[in-house]
């Protein structure tokens, strides 16, 4: 699937940095989103108050995630939905496969969902010959190309219109075009046939309301409405952290999410679904909600890291991040890229797999400033770095030697003077960096700080 792995972030990033097309596309996309977001927020006088309100609602949920999930499950069941629990990705895929098999469903459609990306649901269903057709335009392009999304909101952000035009020529046999209007019209035609024939629709969930069992799906294209209305069975895959306490809380999040994500005041459509349509006249007869844990309970149990789960997947931190802006989503080698991915992925994967991602940050704090639910991403990045370096995970001998020398030189004024004198002479010897390979590696992307030709103390003493 993804040719990149999170443990190879440094080499992935180097590769991405040489890709001019990618860098231009990323720059214009992230700049545009940042501008639109700023404009959309300016129009809201109580923006900071809204953020605080949203943070507080999410904190309320995360202080008792289990209790809120139980309440949601009970309310959704009372409304007629079938609620399933999935401890991990494999269990979630098995549940969806079972639902598809029970309904003899072979023609599946799917609307954009990060949770289903996280569990690699398409691959699991493909094994039964029932791979869902992605219906969000960006996701469909990615599926036709056999790639993975590179941005939470704009999955095909890394592809040019010419590349997409060529892809459509190759896969759909249409006449060549690189006009987005024309390409989108082809997508509309092709996907209408899939919608009309589909026997099962799969969606994600943006918010699940504990008191009513309502799920909300938010979108612009209308494909999620199609997916959750036309097939006779609707399966919604929902990370358990998507629960919010009250129906009225939706008003808060609907103000925050589109503005933060695409800079829209509201996306074109929100579907608020409470149970199935038992008569089946206008909607699915069956609604299945798959509650996905996959490591979330463990994160919720950690009082420091818990706030990671407050994320509403708006993508604002990606657009604001200088590292993401330069390397794009694929370099992270994880379903969730950017700053939020750098804290979420290591916790979801566990172990060594994504342990390097928290280091892929300059800690500038832009992510924290834009986060609509005020997740303190820089602090969590530092916490994860610290945990990655716990005893047993030793740093290199060279780094340890460096710190020991530093500690020694700082222990007295005479030692300090000696160390700076050595530095002044040492920096004139170009071979120093070469004879110490670890230093050469460190220098490959950094300038060695220069010692002043004359120390401040001696200048200070010589001035009257």
């Amino acid at each position: 699937m993804n040719p990149h792995a999170p443990e190879q972030f440094p080499s992935n990033a180097r590769e991405a940095l040489t890709d001019r097309t990618l860098r231009t596309a990323l720059r214009s996309a992230t700049d545009l989103f940042a501008q639109r977001r700023a404009a959309a927020i300016d129009a809201v006088p109580d923006w900071q108050q809204l953020r605080e309100q949203a943070r507080a609602i999410k904190a309320e949920v995360l202080d008792d995630l289990h209790g809120h999930v139980e309440k949601f499950a009970a309310a959704a069941t009372a409304a007629g939905a079938a609620v399933h629990r999935a401890a991990d990705a494999a269990a979630a895929c098995a549940i969806v496969r079972q639902i598809a098999a029970a309904n003899s469903a072979k023609r599946l459609v799917k609307s954009k969902s990060m949770a289903t990306e996280e569990i690699h649901l398409n691959a699991a269903l493909a094994a039964d010959g029932a791979e869902p057709v992605e219906t969000d335009l960006g996701e469909w392009i990615i599926q036709l190309a056999g790639e993975t999304p590179s941005h939470i909101i704009v999955p095909a952000i890394h592809k040019t219109r010419e590349a997409i035009g060529q892809l459509f020529v190759d896969k759909l046999g249409i006449p060549p075009s690189s006009d987005p209007q024309v390409l989108a019209a082809h997508a509309r035609d092709r996907l209408r046939a899939h919608f009309a024939a589909a026997d099962l629709g799969i969606s994600g969930v943006n918010f699940g309301v504990a008191e009513t069992g309502t799920i909300l799906v938010l979108e612009n294209e209308g494909n999620a409405r199609m997916t959750t209305t036309l097939p006779k069975v609707h399966v919604a895959v929902m990370g358990i952290e998507k629960v919010i306490p009250r129906f009225a809380d939706l008003a808060v999040f609907l103000k925050l999410l589109p503005r933060s994500g695409t800079g829209q005041h509201l996306t074109s459509y929100q579907s608020l679904l409470t149970g199935p349509d038992p008569v089946g006249g206008e909607g699915p007869r069956e609604l299945h909600i798959v509650l996905l844990d996959n490591g979330r309970s463990k994160i919720a149990a950690d009082p420091v890291m818990r706030q990671t789960l407050a994320c509403i997947r708006c993508g604002a931190c990606l657009n604001a991040c200088p590292v993401y802006q330069s390397v794009g989503g694929h370099a992270y080698g994880s379903v969730y890229p950017g700053p939020i991915g750098a804290i979420l992925s290591p916790q979801l994967h566990g172990g060594e797999r994504a342990a390097k991602l928290p280091f892929a940050s300059s800690l500038c704090g832009a992510c924290k400033d834009v986060c609509p639910v005020k997740i303190d991403i820089p602090t969590l990045l530092l916490e994860l770095r610290q945990r990655a370096m716990q005893p047993g995970k030793q740093s290199s001998w060279f780094e340890r030697l460096g710190w020991r020398l530093w500690a020694w030189s700082m222990a007295g004024p005479r030692r300090y003077r000696l160390a700076t004198a050595i530095a002044r002479i040492g920096q004139k010897l170009p071979f120093v960096a070469r004879i110490a390979p670890p230093l050469a590696a460190w220098r490959s992307s950094r300038e060695l700080p220069k010692a002043a030709p004359r120390p401040f103390r001696s200048t200070f003493r010589s001035e009257p």
């Binding site: 596309a25 214009s28 545009l32 309310a75 409304a79 219906t135 335009l137 960006g138 392009i141 704009v154 095909a156 040019t160 219109r161 997409i164 987005p180 209007q181 989108a184 997508a187 509309r188 996907l191 209408r192 919608f195 009309a196 008191e211 009513t212 069992g213 309502t214 612009n220 294209e221 209308g222 494909n223 409405r225 199609m226 209305t229 036309l230 009250r246 129906f247 009225a248 939706l250 008003a251 609907l254 103000k255 695409t262 829209q264 005041h265 509201l266 996306t267 074109s268 459509y269 929100q270 579907s271 608020l272 679904l273 409470t274 149970g275 199935p276 349509d277 006249g281 206008e282 909607g283």
Partner: protein, 181 residues
């Protein structure tokens, strides 16, 4: 007050590529729908089961194909216009709120090329917060199993972030605000 709400609703909806006009009453709405049918060169017209929609459809001159809300989906997918009402309009965001159960309009508002919605002025509310209070008056379960918020026609920016209006959902949204019903 409600004049302000209608103005605000219109201004916001227009910014997101929706069309919005004010008409005096149901006969005026009927006349406007007839003009729109000609303007859009529409032949297949689908309608929800709302009494207002039924009245408009009955008053239109004949010709063309009329589809009920429960027509086969293949036919609805090929329809030119879907005519519905909306249960609420949110002025702050230019949003229509459609509550299933109160009207059979889930498909008619989604599948045809153009969605025309009749919105009595009295159903306008100021904000999202007001709308949520209407939708679940007692804080209990919402009044409808499927509630759809619609703000403008369907759109995408998935190819190089260039805006394309009209992808999977309706390519046009036209709201007729009725002064009196």
């Amino acid at each position: 007050m409600s004049a302000d709400l209608a103005e605000r609703f219109t201004a916001v909806l227009t910014r997101v590529f929706g069309r919005c006009e004010t008409v005096a009453d149901l006969p005026a709405a009927t006349a406007r729908v007839q003009e729109l049918i000609e303007e859009l060169d529409a032949t297949v017209l689908a309608g929800s089961d709302a009494p207002e929609v039924t009245t408009v459809l009955a008053a239109l001159p004949g010709g063309g194909t009329r589809l009920p809300h429960d027509a086969p989906r293949e036919q609805l997918l090929a329809a030119d216009i879907g005519l519905t009402t909306a249960q609420l309009g949110i002025a702050e965001t230019g949003t229509l709120v459609l509550e299933s159960g109160r009207e059979q309009h889930r498909l008619v508002s989604l599948l045809p090329k153009v969605h025309i919605a009749l919105l009595p002025r009295s159903r306008l509310v100021g904000s999202l917060v007001d709308a949520f209070a209407h939708l679940s008056p007692s804080g209990g379960p919402p009044r409808a199993r499927a509630i759809t918020f619609i703000t403008g026609p369907s759109r995408t920016a998935d190819i190089e972030l260039e805006l394309v209006v009209g992808v999977h959902g309706p390519k046009q949204l036209i709201v007729l605000i009725l002064d009196t019903l």
